[in-house]
Amino acid sequence: METTLNVEGLQVNYGNVQALKGISFKVPKGKIVSLIGANGAGKTTTLKAISGNCKSAGVVVFNNHPITNKESFQLVAEGLIHCPEGRGVFPNLTVMENLQLGIVGRHSAKANFNKNLEECFVLFPRLKERINQIAGTLSGGEQQMLAIARALIGEPELLLLDEPSLGLAPLVVKLIFEIIVRINKDKGVTVLLVEQNAKQALKISNYAYVLETGKILLEGTGADLLNNDDVKKIYLGEH
């Protein structure tokens, strides 16, 4: 099976704090892989290191060529698109302007902008209604949808999703996870998902890794981990 992303011995230091202590994992093409773990485990750091947003040591291979410490905009140009944690939209720009920035570094997607925009409106009809609204006036869930839509406009080969369900109402969380599945199934986008919401993430993942203070503790298929006793106890709150 083709491997879209292969990470080996990834290390990140913030000053003399080691946030990632050499982690290794793979994301096969066309799959959803998730990285679950508590707050502060190093999930965001992992995504940032992969997408060229923080200095790292180790090897990251994307589509069979090494990309360690390449600049973020170069990676976006190759289709490695990072959908950031929290309010990753620009609240001072309109919804449309945010979406237009989805192709800012992704030259190959420029010609398909209108087609991709229509597809996004199918996934997120609410964005269409609010297209000229200032993004800062959207609800939290709508902002998350906008952030995902902006990433999709760039036609990602690999989508890095950082806690898309964070701080959202349960119904919206459900919707967001359904959409991640559709992005993966219908559009064939490979997804590396980072979540604290372990249950939902594991349900939709082909494979998953459990990250704890900068190290990978466990790995397995989503179904395996859902039934793992340690995972149940620590991450799913079951006894």
Binding site: V76, I81, N92, E97, V104
Partner: protein, 300 residues
């Protein structure tokens, strides 16, 4: 009443020059949260590039609007070049350094340009040649519109329209506004941040260069410290409008130009320069974010 109209015309002309300079301050602040102290000196460079271009390449040229526009374009290129050099070699290496380092560097660059300018051009004022036919249009009732003023209105209006288009209708403008919200997120979604910052310097500096020539045409004695006072006033105009806000900079500058002219006309020209500082103090006390500024700026 006629006197008031005359003052208003003069104030608008002065305000337009301030606006061209204030735009550079506000745009650079938007992307780097940096008060580019060297910006007033980039304005001065524009004046001198214009002056030397005329001396060397068109010493006997007929004054005309076309001549003026050519000189303005050359000065824009000259100032933009200096802006690019400053950004690449002075500010870019400090991108990740503490804010205070880049601020001190900006002051250093400003001093370098001022005293480097004195070294190259000499400290004494030089006469800026007549490149515009001196004409006064009589609007009746002792109100006059000077050919300088017409040119200032024309040039600044066109430049501001172009700028408005760049900032609000192009991918560059969206990227610039995205960076002004969060450089980190902008970088993360694939904006080539250094490129956008560089273009911002090019645009801001070239507007200052154009203003430098317009200033030379209106007040034809220039020296290397020329940028100090207009630079400071344009900065105050940007703060008045809400630093970081492009529309605010223009409004702040027009308000400042008008109030200076009214104060000079109705009270005394002695107070003209003090007025800008009074406005600065009032803004900082009463509305630190400026007229159109957002709250976010206050914490800076």
């Amino acid at each position: 009443m006629n006197e008031f109209i005359q003052h208003t015309i003069n104030g608008l002309a002065l305000g337009s020059i301030y606006a061209l300079v204030a735009l550079g301050y506000t745009m650079v602040f938007g992307v780097l949260q940096l008060i580019n102290f060297a910006h007033g000196d980039i304005f001065m460079v524009g004046s001198f590039v214009g002056l030397y271009f005329i001396r060397w390449f068109m010493p006997n040229v007929e004054p005309s609007l076309l001549t003026t526009i050519i000189v303005i374009l050359v000065a824009m290129v000259g100032s933009a070049t200096v802006g690019v050099i400053i950004e690449k070699f002075a500010y870019r290496p400090l991108r990740k350094a503490p804010r205070i380092n880049i601020l001190i560097t900006a002051i250093g660059v400003s001093l370098l340009l001022e005293y480097g300018g004195q070294l190259i051009f000499g400290a004494s004022p030089q006469f800026f040649p007549d490149i515009l036919p001196r004409k006064q249009i009589d609007l009746g009732g002792a109100i006059y519109l000077d050919s300088n003023q017409v040119t200032i209105f024309l040039v600044s209006f066109v430049l501001m329209l172009v700028l408005q288009f760049l900032v609000f209708k192009t991918q560059f403008g969206r990227a610039m506004r995205a960076i002004s919200h969060s450089l980190e997120t902008a970088n993360l979604i694939g904006i080539n941040v250094n490129k956008v910052i560089l273009i911002t310097f090019i645009i801001g500096s070239s507007l200052a260069g154009a203003a430098g020539v317009l200033y030379g045409v209106a007040y034809p004695k220039i020296d290397p410290l020329l940028g100090l006072l207009p630079g400071l006033k344009a900065f105050i105009a940007a703060v008045l409008g809400g630093i970081g806000n492009v529309t605010g900079a223009v409004i702040g500058a027009i308000l400042l130009g008008l109030s200076e002219t009214y104060v000079a006309g109705y009270i005394s020209s002695t107070y003209r320069d003090a007025l800008a500082f009074l406005i600065l103090i009032l803004v900082l006390l009463l509305r630190p974010a400026g007229l159109l500024g957002t709250k976010k700026i206050e914490k800076v």
